[in-house]
């Protein structure tokens, strides 16, 4: 699946300090204790800046964010929405989006 490799790399580097341990693609971040409440914010920031998407409050749910697989599937759906511009990244709801921001940035290696 697209995004799996780079998401795993981010999780391992950021929350496991390079030690993959028992992380599987379907491991629950919260139940396994890999990510705490501050870590969720860190994950959201990473996704928004790396993939140039805007994650709405109602999208911040375990179904979308609680494992590598779930995040990857969520990203697939979000980036697909970019064709109609509905998921563009913006810090403020009233931010005007420039046309060049419609391009999805290449994920940065981590």
């Amino acid at each position: 699946m697209k995004y799996i490799k780079e998401l795993r790399a981010f999780i391992v580097a950021t929350f496991l300090f390079g030690d993959v341990g028992s992380l599987q693609d379907d491991t629950s971040f919260m139940r396994s204790g890999i990510i705490d409440s501050t870590g969720i914010l860190e994950l959201i920031m990473f996704l928004e800046t790396t993939y140039n998407i805007k994650i709405e409050n109602e999208e911040m749910i375990p179904e979308n964010l609680d494992s590598v697989n779930r995040v990857a599937q969520f990203l697939e759906r979000k980036t697909a929405q970019l064709t109609d511009g509905s998921a563009l990244s913006s810090r403020r709801q009233d931010t005007v989006v420039s046309p060049q921001e419609l391009v999805v940035s290449n994920p940065q290696p981590v």
Binding site: M30, G33, D36, S37, T38, I40, L41, E42, I44, M45, N57, E58, M60, I61, P62, E63, L65, R91, R92
Partner: protein, 323 residues
């Protein structure tokens, strides 16, 4: 436990016996174990510190209790008069230390405002703010902090916090609790007194305190009491009605902030029963029947309690020694 017995009455406290038990422990620990001559109590005008003040007087006598009044720029207007009212009611000596100057010197307000400007660039001196969490009851959404800002004309807006803004605001705001504790220990040291901590059970269990700030103390006399029990104790101790009727507040941000907005999932009376129910392994449906929530909502609060306990483990941890 038998789930059929679960009711709000389960938190009814035998206040006379409990006050006797607490004050006996305070005398034993403060006077005999720690060899201290009395205690310092930081009075905020809230229910918890007022009850600790009253229990301290009951345990040690009013001449062995020093009340510290430490408002700052963002404190509510009622904070100082209410804490003075409590001190006067208890008949204890007080020291008024406005900590605004210390906080300015250390850059508390500037650093906090700089952090807010990371997400609200137009934020300026004269604006007000608070950070808030969404409700845990509605859905399974992760609770991410937002900042509410209000300009001098009263226009307000809400913006979700970035990680660096959130951490920066909290880190700067924590100067307030740590400055207060520093002054509590100053006065305790000069008087050879101990320092009280004033968390109730909800706060202690869930980590609603600043490490080495209000989390620091020599004795925490009401950390085992649910908030509703603290109110019962306040009534038993005949604390002024103004204190007993004041809504719980964090009194930390320039906009009035309820404890539900900042930390707890539901108002304290429900939170007490849900925490008690969880501790006693009562079914969510039964807890929900008593507190007026669905089983699903209670389960969400249960999960929130577990999440906060995991985060609180760090706050409670003593320094690690390598032996």
């Amino acid at each position: 436990m038998n789930a059929k017995l679960f009711s709000a009455d389960m938190l009814n406290l035998d206040c006379a016996n409990e006050a006797e038990r607490i004050t006996a422990v305070m005398r034993e620990q403060v006077l005999r174990r720690f060899k201290k001559k009395g205690v310092v109590v930081a009075l905020s005008g809230g229910i918890d510190s007022s009850v600790v003040g009253a229990l301290s007087v009951r345990a040690l006598g009013r001449n062995r209790v020093l009340g510290l009044l430490m408002p700052e720029r963002d404190s509510g207007l009622e904070t100082l008069p209410l804490s003075q009212q409590v001190a006067s009611h208890l008949g204890i000596e007080t020291v008024h230390e406005d900590i605004t100057g210390i906080l300015e010197s250390v850059g508390c307000y500037r650093r906090r405002d700089d952090a807010i400007r990371l997400v609200v660039p137009e934020y300026r001196t004269g604006w007000k703010s608070k950070i808030v969490l969404p409700s845990v009851l509605a859905d399974d959404q992760y609770r991410i902090f937002s900042v509410i800002v209000q300009d001098p004309y009263g226009k307000s807006s809400e913006v979700r916090l970035s990680l660096d803004a959130y951490l920066g605001i909290v880190a700067a705001s924590n100067f307030k609790q740590r400055t207060r504790k520093m002054l509590e220990y100053y006065h305790a040291d000069r008087l050879n007194y101990g320092v009280t901590g004033t968390p109730n059970r909800l706060e202690y269990d869930q980590g609603f305190f600043v490490k080495l700030g209000d989390g620091a103390a020599d004795i925490k006399p009401i950390a085992h009491l649910y908030k509703t029990q603290v109110y019962q104790m306040a009534e038993f101790l005949k604390l002024p009605e103004d204190i007993r009727s004041r809504p719980p507040t964090t009194d930390t941000y320039s906009l009035t902030q309820s404890q539900e907005e900042f930390f707890f999932s539901v108002p304290y009376d429900k939170m007490d029963l849900i925490l008690y129910g969880k501790n006693q392994e009562v079914a969510p449906s039964e807890v929900g029947r008593v507190v007026g929530l669905t089983a699903e909502q209670v389960e969400r609060v249960f999960r929130d309690i577990e999440s906060k306990r995991r985060a609180a483990a760090y706050l409670h941890a003593q320094p690690v020694l390598v032996e």
